[in-house]
């Protein structure tokens, strides 16, 4: 197990390095750099001042040098400084990360609390109207753009009903609408997965055995069927965390919620490369770590699984 874990951790490094290189190259393709972003905001810089600023930020060096310098710093744990405010990337990201993680966790909670029961319902009543309705809702949830869904939630629950605030900063009530906007699409994915996984599990031999032994329907579903059905779901959760973190960017902007999402968007608008890279690398690292945890949990859930097997 330990060897497996160590191996996976080492594999993380090329993933992160690859991400850093990719972001760097993409930023070079976008017109404008940190200095032109400052001028777009209204600063009047003479050509000499622009040159000075670019020199100070190291933007005049060849691309390979800039990239190499950044990667070298990365290896030493130095994520650099913001080109806009000169604060360390670590402090900027550190201030925002908990807010995003809370949002992602809440979104996942919503997805589980709505998706799993919906999937179970559809599986137990499969091929009935209930099943069709449940799956139809799931497809709807998948198709609705999250941004639009967020706006509709604000309109209904904040403006018209006044149950929750439109702006999300702190506290539980402010978390509800963003979590819903984030989690409902995931709930749909989970519902479909739980349904098919549970149906398959209910067709297994051990289910027939349990039924033969006189177990009730409910006992079969919850005690025998679901635990086995949830195994692929757990794997899915690991992957979906990545989706949720990406969607969190949009949701944070919509609800004016502080977090890495806002940091990412602002750093793109400001062409603040170190902050952008730092934020995305941290998000990537979290994603890799969660998937690693999921794989380990998988092993505990299903002892038959051999980690690291082809």
């Amino acid at each position: 197990m330990l060897r497996y874990l160590a191996g996976r951790m080492i594999l993380t490094i090329p993933v992160l390095v690859g991400a850093a290189i990719l972001i760097f190259l993409l930023m070079q393709l976008v017109p404008g750099d940190a200095v032109s972003a400052v001028m777009a905001g209204g600063a009047k810089l003479s050509p000499e001042q622009q040159l000075e600023m670019r020199e100070a930020l190291g933007l005049n060096r060849p691309l390979v040098v800039q990239l190499g310098d950044y990667l070298w710093g990365l290896v030493q744990g130095d994520l650099g400084r913001s080109t806009r405010s000169d604060r360390t990337v670590i402090s900027l990201v550190g201030a925002q990360i908990s807010s995003t993680l809370i949002l992602v966790a809440a979104g996942m909670a919503v997805a589980l609390l709505i998706g799993v029961p919906l999937g179970v319902l559809a599986a137990r009543r499969r091929n009935t109207l209930v099943d069709t309705a449940a799956m139809g809702t799931a497809v709807l949830g998948l198709s609705i753009p999250q941004f639009w869904l967020g706006l509709m939630l604000i309109l209904l629950f904040a403006v018209n009903l006044g149950w929750f605030p439109a702006l999300s900063s702190g506290g539980f009530r402010a978390l509800v609408l963003p979590a819903l906007a984030l989690g409902l699409a995931e709930a749909a994915v989970l519902a479909r997965l739980v349904r098919s996984s549970l149906i398959e599990s209910l067709e297994q031999d051990y289910t027939t055995t349990a039924r033969a032994k006189g177990a009730s329907d409910r006992r079969i579903t919850w005690r025998h069927g679901l635990p086995n059905a949830l195994v692929p779901v757990v794997t899915m959760i690991g992957l979906q965390v990545g989706n949720l973190m990406g969607a969190a960017v949009v949701i944070e902007m919509l609800f004016a919620r502080p977090g890495l999402g806002q940091l990412v968007v602002n750093s793109i608008l400001r062409r603040d490369l170190p902050v952008l890279q730092g934020s995305i690398l941290i998000l990537a690292a979290i994603f890799v770590f969660i998937n690693l945890a999921v794989d380990v949990i998988y092993k505990f859930l299903d002892p038959r699984v051999e980690l690291g097997a082809a």
Binding site: V30, P31, G32, D33, A34, S36, A37, V38, M39, A40, G41, G42, A43, K44, L45, S46, P47, Q49, Q50, M53, R84, S85, D86, R87, L92, A95, Q96, S99, L151, I154, L155, A158, V159, G162, P165, A166, L167, S169, E252, M253, L254, F255, A256, R257, P258, G259, Q262, L263, V265, N266, L269, R270, R271
Partner: protein, 657 residues
């Protein structure tokens, strides 16, 4: 069991009733107190209103007395002239004979009369002056009464937290280094400027109480306000002001600072509260430049002590002190209890600020911003999207106000550098083909007036003749294009010698919403028009490096000579406003002359020439005059708006509880 239950129930009921009575009794008291306070506030307000009307009446009397005094003075002058003439006649007559003698007698009589008239006029003048004096005293008394009434209202209405919904988070809060309007909107509450530009382009005293620009506009004498302190306790005086301006000798990146650094040379300290700002070239608009929030006075010593953190911990002299900055969420400021030097004519109070706390909340999405106003989570919303104006107006408890932003209107530059727009006939064809009325209706819901020239109509120097140029006439456009040799093909697009009549319209995302309609209007007369969308930094980089036929732009400024930065050949390149890459020596000449001309009449003439020239050369397609709409809760009152319409000041704002 039942009995016990019944007892318990009635016991509970009894407790419940008692509690309810208690609660309503307490609540009742609060209500009465609040009612009383509200009534007293209303009474104080009425008093203030009365005092105001009296002051107005006194003012009118003073003015009448003034004109009487003037009339009396001219009568006196006339009488004196007559006296002199009479005396001359008398002198000539002295050398003569009888005729002269009688002439002398006549002259004497005339002189007598003249003297009497003069005396009478003199007395009238004195009486008029006394009346004027009394009127002035009455006005002062009225103002004092108003201020006292206001203070009573302040006491009753004080407190509360005002939440302002902004769109983007500032980058940093050091006024001197501020670059964006987001920075400056916050800085305006924390740092004060030497003078304040009010609505109607009127200057109010700020940290300077009197100012005097030398006739050659090379130096500015300022008398500084006494008794002013910074939020950290440091006093404000001439030395501190000099230290602030000395910061220009180092790094200059702030947008307003860079503007002033273009002509600032040095600060001469005359005494503790008198300075002379010395310029390297004539700066007739120095006062207007100094009124912008980006010219807010900072505490240079404190800034240096804080080093890199200065941008996150601003220190100023203003009505609000920085409290905390929660990244991605909001910036909060608290009332500065020492702020007692507010300029009453601008803020409506001498201070301290009525609100206890002011929060700037950043909300990137405009629909969410509007929703937050409806739910009451914010009290003030700037930059209402045009399609939301009507729905917000219908909302109870919300007021919508429009402000016009003077400057270069929203336009598309027509670049004379590249083909096909290098041909003036093509440029003129474009101007005749654009239907601004359609744009105003469809894109701006009729809420912003169309523009006609390079200067918005807010300025006194606006030359209305530009309204006669280029009426909407697509047939004339077709004629001009035919004349220029561009013939339409089967698909309607015009070509000439194998070249397509191309028009690339480039827009800065969300700032130029009319471009698709413009594209449509140009297609109709045979242009192969396309829209390219970039945002922010990318837009400024691209338009500076590449020349587009129709680049969108606008500019906001308080003084019309600033138009120079929109059309001068030195203003070409990334980050600069001349995105049409116009390099016209005649235009450069006119703009240079206007920026150093100190005689306002002459300057107006030069600017008139500029406006005509730009339109004669068809360098721009004027679209609309920039208007911003703000929406605010009816509970919020008393905020001030500066002369550019851009900045809102909350020193005098209050929230009714």
């Amino acid at each position: 069991m039942r009995n016990l239950f019944g007892k318990r129930l009635s016991g509970l009921l009894g407790v419940f009733v008692v509690l309810t009575l208690l609660a309503s009794a307490c609540g009742g008291e609060d209500t009465t107190a609040a009612d009383q306070a509200a009534a007293e506030a209303a009474a104080a307000r009425a008093q203030a209103a009365n005092a105001q009307t009296e002051a107005d009446a006194a003012q009118a009397e003073a003015e009448a007395a003034q004109s009487e005094a003037e009339a009396a003075a001219s009568a006196l002058a006339e009488a004196q002239a007559e006296l002199e003439a009479a005396q001359q006649m008398a002198a000539a007559a002295m050398e003569g004979d009888e005729a002269a003698q009688s002439a002398l007698a006549e002259a004497e009589a005339a002189a007598q009369e003249a003297m009497q008239t003069a005396e009478a006029a003199q007395q009238e003048a004195e009486a008029a002056q006394e009346a004027a004096q009394e009127a002035e005293e009455a006005q002062e008394a009225a103002q004092m009464a108003q201020q006292e009434a206001q203070m009573q209202v302040d006491e009753m209405m004080g407190g509360g937290t005002i939440v302002f919904g902004g769109n983007q988070e500032p980058s940093q809060l050091d006024a001197f280094a501020s670059t964006t309007v987001n920075d400056q909107a916050v800085v305006a509450q924390i740092n004060e400027t030497l003078v304040i530009l009010g609505q109607g382009m009127q200057l109010h005293p700020g940290l300077a109480t009197t100012w005097s620009l030398s006739p050659d506009a090379m130096s500015l004498r300022l008398t500084l306000r006494e008794g002013v302190t910074f939020h950290n306790g440091d006093p404000f005086n001439a030395e501190v002001l000099k230290a602030h301006f000395d910061r220009m000798k180092g790094e200059v990146s702030g947008s307003q600072t860079a503007l002033i650094a273009g002509y600032y040379k040095d600060t001469e300290v005359i005494d503790d509260y008198t300075v002379d700002l010395v310029f390297s070239k004539p700066a007739p608009d120095a006062l207007i430049d100094l009124a912008a929030p980006g010219a807010g006075i900072t505490n240079a010593a404190a800034v240096e002590a804080m080093g890199d953190d200065a941008g996150q911990n601003p220190i100023g002299t203003g009505p609000f002190m920085f409290e905390e900055w929660v990244e991605g969420s909001h910036i909060s400021m608290v009332r500065n209890p020492d702020w007692t030097w507010g300029e009453f004519s601008f803020y409506g109070t001498t201070g301290p600020a009525r609100a206890e706390r002011l929060i700037f909340r950043f909300i990137p999405d405009e629909q969410t911003r509007t929703a937050a106003l409806s739910t009451g989570e914010i009290h003030f919303l700037d930059l209402v999207p045009f399609q939301n104006i009507a729905p917000l107006e219908e909302l109870d408890g919300v007021t919508v106000e429009g402000f016009s932003l003077p400057g270069l209107p929203q336009v598309n530059y027509i670049s004379p550098v590249i083909s096909p727009t290098s041909d003036i006939r093509v440029r003129q064809a474009i101007l005749h083909a654009v239907n601004q009325e359609e744009i105003v209706d469809a894109v701006f819901f009729g809420r912003a007036p169309r523009a006609y020239g390079p200067l918005s109509s807010d300025f006194a120097e606006y030359d209305p003749i530009v309204e006669t140029y280029y009426p909407y006439d697509p047939d004339r456009s077709a004629e001009l294009l035919d004349e220029a040799g561009w013939t339409a093909g089967d698909d309607g697009i015009r070509t000439k010698d194998g070249e397509t009549l191309r028009a690339r319209i480039i827009e800065n995302r969300s700032w130029n919403p009319w471009v698709t309609l413009l594209q449509d209007q140009l297609r109709k007369i045979g242009f192969d028009a396309e829209v390219i969308t970039l945002e922010g930094g990318g837009y400024f980089q691209e338009t500076g490096e590449t020349i587009f036929e129709l680049a969108s732009m606008g500019d906001v400024f308080g003084s019309p000579a600033t138009l120079r930065r929109d059309f001068h050949s030195s203003s070409i390149g990334p980050g600069n406003i001349n995105v049409g890459h116009i390099d016209d020596p005649r235009l450069d000449e006119l703009l240079d002359a206007a920026s150093v001309e100190t005689n306002l009449g002459v300057r107006a003439e030069i600017l008139s020439d500029v406006q005509r020239y730009v339109m004669d050369q068809a360098y721009i397609v004027p679209i609309i005059e920039l208007h911003f709409f703000t929406a605010f809760s009816n509970a919020l009152s008393g905020f001030s708006v500066d002369g550019t319409g851009f900045y809102k000041y909350f020193g005098g704002a209050s929230l009714s509880q």
